[in-house]
């Protein structure tokens, strides 16, 4: 089971993730990411990985089995 996770301390609200991955990430009114709840659909996994890698502060992760990677 893979889901999106954000390290709230490392995240500084660049907002790049929401721009690149609107299917799974929206921004709150202060520019911080709101992640889609639950498991990522398999067809979105590749994109999600790329978006996580593009996070300027490396705050966005993909998380397996309920633990942060």
């Amino acid at each position: 089971m893979t889901r999106l996770a954000v390290d709230p301390i490392t995240c500084t609200g660049h907002g790049l993730c929401a721009e690149l991955f609107p299917e799974g990430i929206a921004l709150d009114e202060w520019g911080y990411p709101l992640l889609a709840a639950g498991e990522l659909p398999p067809d979105l996994l590749r994109t999600a990985r790329k978006v996580a890698a593009a996070c300027p502060t490396r705050a966005l992760r993909l998380r397996d089995d309920g633990r942060a990677g």
Binding site: I9, L34, A68
Partner: protein, 401 residues
């Protein structure tokens, strides 16, 4: 002042002839050698720091992490008490310091710890150093002063402080139970939890079935604050005098408001409090007198809590000050801008689960309970009225005089 007594109250944990080691030994006898893991499991002891986590599970996970990493763990007695309304940890450390130190020695021995710390307010340390000098603990205890800020007792913030870093919470992966002080598996237990352990180890099974409560109330207009040892399951109405109270703050500033009439019948244990959205928290019970404005009191507390955000996580950093400012407006006896209440509700929805620690979650829970319990007051404010007869604050807020 007349004493407030209720039949169910005892002073068990705080009973004792005095704080010295000689007095402690005379009252309690020597510390027995016990199988702590089994004992704690059977006693069903839960942590008294706020989260109420089962102590046996904590012990087990630190032991497992120590075995897996082959690192000797660290044990920490947490007497930080950053909660301004609470006084139980300081009281305990002043009255029965050796019960806390016994508990720390027990967990240090059970885990084969390489280091032990006791963190407390700076003012308590000289006295504690004297008490420590009378003991011969196999694992020496290092005293550590904690900053008097709300989050100083949050376990990851405390571990950071013990490592010489700023006392800020960090994300829960990995938890301090796996990697805490000096990167070692770390067991952080509240000082009350440790004192109870010391009594349970001596065969006092009732010790696990009670909790320290800091009571705040007013009796005939006079503020009353004390700390009592109360059996779990006691009715709040038997613990607090509620004749002249409108609501009870249960748990402290990370807690919940409940109407006095409803609170009176609630029992002090997890399962009874949960349906009322409340929990034991840091063991604070504050009975808000009828002549105060619950919204004003909450606004004061929330302003303090917003300022006490570690400022690390965007939603907390942005959301709490906005909620606090809005609450400040709602606390005035004047019509509030339309939509302000909806703003508070929306911001409150944006915070839970989005911080490294539970500070934002707890604060919006407090706010929601205030808006529910003091809804009539809110309507009164809309009509330029307020039920407060005094501007004297009831709940203590550091820095506000």
């Amino acid at each position: 002042m007349t004493a407030v007594t209720a039949p169910e109250l005892t002073r068990g944990l705080l009973d004792g002839p005095g704080p010295s080691f000689a007095q402690h030994c005379a009252a309690h006898g020597p510390l027995p050698v016990v199988d702590l893991h089994t004992l704690v499991e059977e006693a069903g002891l839960a942590g008294r720091g706020g989260a109420g986590f089962p102590t046996a599970a904590k012990l087990r996970s630190v032991a497992a992490a120590a075995a897996a990493t082959r690192k000797a763990p660290v044990v920490v007695a947490n007497g930080s008490e950053g909660e301004p309304a609470a006084a139980k940890d300081a009281t305990l450390l002043a009255l029965v310091p050796h019960l806390v130190l016994d508990g720390l020695a027990l967990v240090a021995a059970a885990l084969g710890a390489s280091a032990a710390y006791l963190a407390a307010d700076e003012a308590l340390l000289p006295g504690l150093a004297t008490h420590l000098a009378d003991r011969r603990d196999p694992v020496g205890v290092r005293l550590h002063p904690v900053a008097q800020v709300f989050l100083s007792g949050e376990e990851s913030a405390l571990c950071a402080a013990l490592d010489g870093r700023p006392p800020l919470p960090r994300t829960k992966f990995p938890p301090v139970r796996e990697r805490g002080v000096a990167g070692r598996p770390t067991l952080v237990l509240n000082v009350e939890t440790l004192a109870r352990l010391a009594l349970v180890a001596r065969g006092n099974d009732l010790a696990a079935a009670a909790l320290l409560v800091t009571r705040r109330m007013e009796i005939a207009g006079t503020p009353w604050v004390d700390v009592v040892d109360v059996p779990l399951g006691s009715r709040i109405g038997d613990v607090l005098r509620l004749d002249d109270a409108q609501a009870v703050l249960i748990g402290g500033y990370a807690g919940t408001w409940v109407e006095a009439s409803r609170a009176a019948g609630l029992r002090l244990d997890r399962s009874s409090l949960a349906p009322a959205g409340a929990s034991l928290g840091a063991g604070v019970l504050a009975a808000l007198p009828a002549d105060r404005c619950g919204l004003r009191e909450t606004a004061g507390v929330v302003g303090y809590l917003a300022a006490q955000s570690a400022g690390q996580c965007g939603p907390c950093l942005n959301g709490l000050p906005r909620i606090a400012a809005a609450l400040d407006v709602l606390a005035r006896p004047a019509p509030a801008p339309s939509g302000l209440l909806r703003d508070v509700e929306r911001w409150s929805g944006l915070l839970p689960g989005r911080g490294a620690c539970s500070h934002p979650d707890a604060t919006v829970r407090l706010v929601a309970s205030a808006l529910r319990v003091f809804s009539e007051e809110l309507a009164r404010h809309g009509a330029d009225r307020c039920s407060a007869h005094t501007g004297r604050p009831f709940l203590p807020v550091p820095g506000s005089g």
